[in-house]
Amino acid sequence: MVARIFYAFLILLGGIAYGLLLGGISRKITARLQNRRGPTIFQNFIDVWKLFRKKTAISHGVMFYLAPMFRLVGGAGTFLLVPIVVGHPYLSNFSFGGDLIVIMYFMVLGCLGMALGAAESGHPHSPIAVTRGLSLMAGYELPFVVSVVVLMIADKTTTVEGIVRAQQGGILHWHIFTHPFAAAAAFISLLGMMMSYPFQVVMAPQEIPIGPPTEYSSSFLSYMFSGRSVFAVAKYVLFMDLFLGGATNLGWAFLKTFLIFLWPLFITNVFPRFKLEQAVSFFWTWPTLIGLIDLIRIYIVR
């Protein structure tokens, strides 16, 4: 049990580090696309350390203090529920029967905590961004749930582990090939989850400078930063498990999550931004309809 906790802690630290590194790589790639030199790929580590060691003298109440913790716990909890390598004693994390539904609940926790904390900070930009964030969440959850339901019905299981096992036996068994429409819906909703550019309404830098964490500074921000990084990694790992057949060892896990990480990155760098209502109505029509094709197909095929 002690070993289990120790390894879970180690994996969590690894997840945070990997997330920060991916953030640095994304900043570098963005810079190169804009014909700049860009910061080093370790810039996010430097930022987090600097923020963590800064003084803070702001107080807005209890929820203000708790929100970064919610964010970190939401990220870390999601990350620890998703199996990285199925069947491995430690790398399968704390996945259990019925965990896909729990994961989907956990993914919302960070956003809700953030919403409560940001609302308490009292800055006018925060509630605007919170409203946008929660509306956008209502948008991208629908196609994601549709595609997850397709997988659940197809594999007759609600565990991530079962879905991974159902994809074994060659690249053409991956759900991205067997259920391409559901995969497409989920990958479009990933753009919304990662808040990449066409759906970048929450932190919209031109109107509400940084979004919900407007009043957050110093170590609050560093917790949020690391929480967001590990949450991003959790989502990449989840998508790898659901659609790219999971991983048999850490090398494959790194490669596949890196490929998934590139998808929102390249979209984000070439698109302008939707308005909120455009984003939500986009999610509720196109990806949802695409996902429904697979749902109907499954019923007809059976």
Binding site: G38, R53, K55, A57, L221
Partner: protein, 191 residues
């Protein structure tokens, strides 16, 4: 209305940095400068090319901060009137320590071409602790980047301590500020 409910009126305690992590702290602080650009002077026009593709300040680890709460550096981009000085003080005090001030152009140094104006201040040093001055009217982005390199050297060697001076000599700074700002309708301390 109860003002104390909305503003922190306490003076901050003694802020000291020392110990094992000091070297790492200085190193990271120098390489991760988040900037809030207070763009009321003509120097604001030089900030944009500094931070965008042409001169790319991000390669030095700098980036624009959305709010003063998250910023490390405030750029005073040129002349300050009495009215804007009041806002600058407010913004500066909302930033979290350690924090640095970079003043652009001749105007904050000695008034520049506004030296005899009835409402522009002449010496910024009397009101805020400036860490790096960048001269010129206006300084080009190259000069601004050189100024930031200088600031990074100062931070890295632990010599950029304007924020400490500000807290230690707060009464002196306040006296100067209140001498020139007649309608001081804000809390005594906005930390």
């Amino acid at each position: 209305m109860d003002k104390d409910k909305y503003f922190l009126n306490e003076k901050p305690g003694k802020l000291t940095y020392s110990g094992v992590f000091k070297r790492i702290d200085d190193w990271t602080r120098a390489r991760s400068l988040w900037v809030v650009a207070y763009g009321t002077g003509c120097g604001a026009i030089e900030i944009r090319p500094t931070f965008t593709s042409r001169f790319d300040a991000e390669r030095l680890g700098m980036r624009m901060a959305g709010t003063p709460r998250q910023a490390d550096v405030i750029i005073i981009s040129g002349y300050l009137t009495v009215k804007t000085l009041k806002r600058v003080i407010r913004v500066y005090e909302q930033m979290q320590s350690p924090k640095y001030v970079v003043a652009l152009g001749a105007c904050p140094i000695n008034g520049g071409m506004y030296y005899d104006s009835y409402n522009a201040i002449n010496k910024l040093d009397l009101y805020l602790p400036v860490d790096v001055w960048v001269t010129g009217c206006m300084p080009r982005p190259e000069a601004i980047l050189a100024g930031f390199k200088r600031l990074q050297e100062l931070i890295d060697s632990g010599r950029a301590d304007g924020w400490k001076k500000y807290i230690e000599n707060l009464d002196w700074y306040r006296e100067n500020q209140k001498k020139i700002i007649k309608n001081w309708r804000m809390p005594n301390y906005n930390w």
